[in-house]
Amino acid sequence: MSNTKYILGSFADPDEMMDGIDRLQANNISIYDCFTPMPIHGIEAKLGVKPSRLPIAAFCFGGLGLMLGFSLLYFTMSYDWPMNIGGKPSMPLPNFVPVTFEVTILLCALGMVATFFFRNHLFPGRAPRVMDLRATDDRFIIAIDARDNANHELIDNLLKEAGAVEVKYNERKYVSYE
């Protein structure tokens, strides 16, 4: 038994990588993940990755912002210290629109991005978990868990048939730790 943990198919072209995914899937080889220097449209459907639920988070945070913004205005202007400004009503709804809107947008944006960072474990100083250093440059990587898929020769052949320029057998999951 070799010590290979992950097999990486390294492609120079995104379409060839997509072809590689098709060939692997046709042979019931499970794909761990793909790493690409740019977003690849349609890859989620192929790999069975569920649609992101971030829009729901964005909507909830926006709703929260709407309520907080309006509550702030209602509390300060109408409840805590209603001011008589030229005899105008103490709850002038049209005047509440701009600030409520801005708070809604602010919370929606910050909440959604915070959720994105939290779910993807992105934060300043996080050690990058990179399997191939060229995946952020010019290579499109298919990573296959070598222990779950025993027939390494078949994988190698399939990747090369699809046009992989290089097939790597990594004994460590991440190459970015030194």
Partner: protein
């Protein structure tokens, strides 16, 4: 699919021969990974001198108070608010390019969005300094926010557009910064994975651990789209609220309902002009000619022309409504603009903003780099005068003729304005030195769909009818980055 064959009738968004994904990374990271050249240093030193002038002028203002400016009892707002509105307006183009063009799926935004967004952020920083400086006692600037306080729980007046403005500008700055930085993550990761030693450590911290997995890209795209969706109404609201600073007052010439749309159009107009000013130099100095092509320049000139025309119509509408209103004060305010002591400023505005963008109807002018550059600067001068005319000419003729006055700037006014341009360029040049000036990942998307080499390959394979290829060949003639040889290659099979 990562690549789709778009119509040959569309002009290429990327030129050059034999471009690979690796070369895109190399080209764009060249200024980041190498020591800056002489042009950068000269620009940077000049900009830092400007920024120093800004520090001195603002420091002097804080020390002596806003009496250091040329304001008087009648003209209480002048250069400070003019410069503020000018900078905020300039900032708007970045959001427009990154958000509105994303929603409309205009792929040409991919090559210019990063630097335009950076421009937005630096312009808003410049604008925000005026807001703080013109308060007079900047150490009390936080009073604009509704903080629990010891003054008998007296809250800020949320009926005031100035308070809305504080909320709008700070929200706009925050959301723009977040949008810009999220987009930068994959590109910082590209720098990180090519770097060594301390450099690698720094970019590693900045990259937040980005790795480009399927799920991260999926979420990245959703986040970009939603941020674009919410930034679009946000950017419109910001300049609407800026215009309400004037429009909700009872000063003749300010109290008009046309202000919000007219200010927004003006903001886009001046912002695109500033993007044009910067990018024309950037593409030359940084050798980005293959990424920021003639198509981009022409498209931006068209937007300048359209928004310039909207602004022109707004000026004429204002005049008409001033007459149609029958209000003596309103009519006087505009007659005074046209023929009063500041008529030179009014006509400078009219010439720069209404007449000069009309020159872009001519394709020769639209596709000429030197003329585009000069016109973009003229537009920015014109837009500065627009705000000056609106603010100073409306104020200097008070209701009481005994209070009539003129405004003369002091060296501090001039110093803060010139200095803020220095500050802006200092930040922009630092950005170009340390971060990728073009969104690498997004430009890579264009390589197999909209690049000239891809289209040439398809043409040579005979994928398109000859009349369409002919149209495409003709459209390439304006490109300065496409050689005769490359056009001829389209004839071969």
């Amino acid at each position: 699919m990562s690549s789709h064959n778009e119509s040959i009738l569309r002009e290429p968004l990327m030129t050059g021969k034999g471009i690979t994904y690796a070369q895109v990374t190399d080209d764009i990271l060249l200024p980041v990974e190498n020591k800056p050249n002489k042009a950068w240093w000269i620009g940077f030193i000049v900009a830092v001198c400007g920024a120093m002038l800004w520090v001195i002028s603002v420091g002097y203002t804080f020390w002596t108070g806003i009496g250091a400016w040329g304001l008087n009892k009648t003209v209480g707002w002048a250069w400070d608010i003019t410069d503020f509105v000018w900078w905020v307006g300039i900032g708007h183009a970045g959001t427009l390019i990154s958000a509105v063009l994303l929603i409309f799926r205009q792929n040409w935004r991919n090559s210019i969005n990063r630097s335009a967004e950076a421009m937005t952020i630096f312009a808003v920083i410049c604008a925000a300094t005026y807001v703080v400086a013109h308060m007079g006692r900047p150490w009390l600037a936080y009073w604009i926010f509704p903080l629990p306080n010891q003054f008998g729980s007296l809250w800020v007046n949320f009926n005031s557009p100035l308070v809305w403005d504080a909320f709008a500008i700070s929200t706009y700055f925050t959301v723009s910064l977040v949008f810009w930085y999220c987009g930068l993550l994959p590109d910082i990761a590209s720098v990180r994975d090519r770097a060594h030693g301390l450099r690698k450590k720094i970019y590693s911290v900045l990259s937040f651990g980005w790795n480009g997995s399927v799920k991260s890209w999926q979420r990245f795209e959703i986040v970009s789209l939603i941020l674009a969706g919410i930034s679009t109404p946000l950017v419109l609201s910001v300049h609407t609220i800026v215009s309400m600073d004037f429009a909700t007052s009872v000063i003749p010439g300010w109290h008009t309902t046309i202000f919000p749309p007219y200010f927004v159009a003006g903001a886009i107009f001046s912002g695109f002009a500033m993007v044009q000013t910067l990018l024309l130099i950037l593409r030359k100095v940084m050798n980005f000619e293959h990424y920021i092509t003639m198509f981009h320049i022409e498209a931006m000139n068209k937007i300048i022309m359209v928004t310039g025309s909207i602004v022109g119509v707004a000026y004429l509408t204002e005049l008409f409504i001033a007459w149609y209103s029958g209000s003596e004060y309103e009519m006087y305010a505009f007659a005074n603009r046209i023929a009063g002591p500041y008529a030179w400023a009014y006509w400078a505005m009219m010439t720069c903003n209404v007449i000069s963008p009309q020159l872009f109807w001519f394709k020769k002018i639209r596709t000429s780099i030197p003329i585009s550059w000069i016109l973009s600067i003229i537009v920015n001068i014109g837009m500065w005068f627009e705000r000056f005319v609106i603010i100073v000419t409306s104020l200097h003729r008070d209701y009481l003729p005994s209070s009539w006055a003129m405004f003369y700037p002091t060296w501090v006014d001039v110093g803060i304005f010139v200095g803020s341009i220095g500050l802006f360029f200092t930040l922009f040049l630092l950005f170009l030195r340390f971060l990728p000036g073009i969104a690498i990942a997004e430009v890579k998307l264009l390589l197999k769909s909209s690049s000239l080499q891809h289209k040439t390959k398809l043409v040579q394979e005979g994928a398109f009818p000859e009349d369409q290829v002919e149209f495409f060949r003709n459209s390439l003639e304006k490109y300065d980055s496409v050689t005769e040889e490359e056009i001829n290659a389209l004839r071969k099979k």
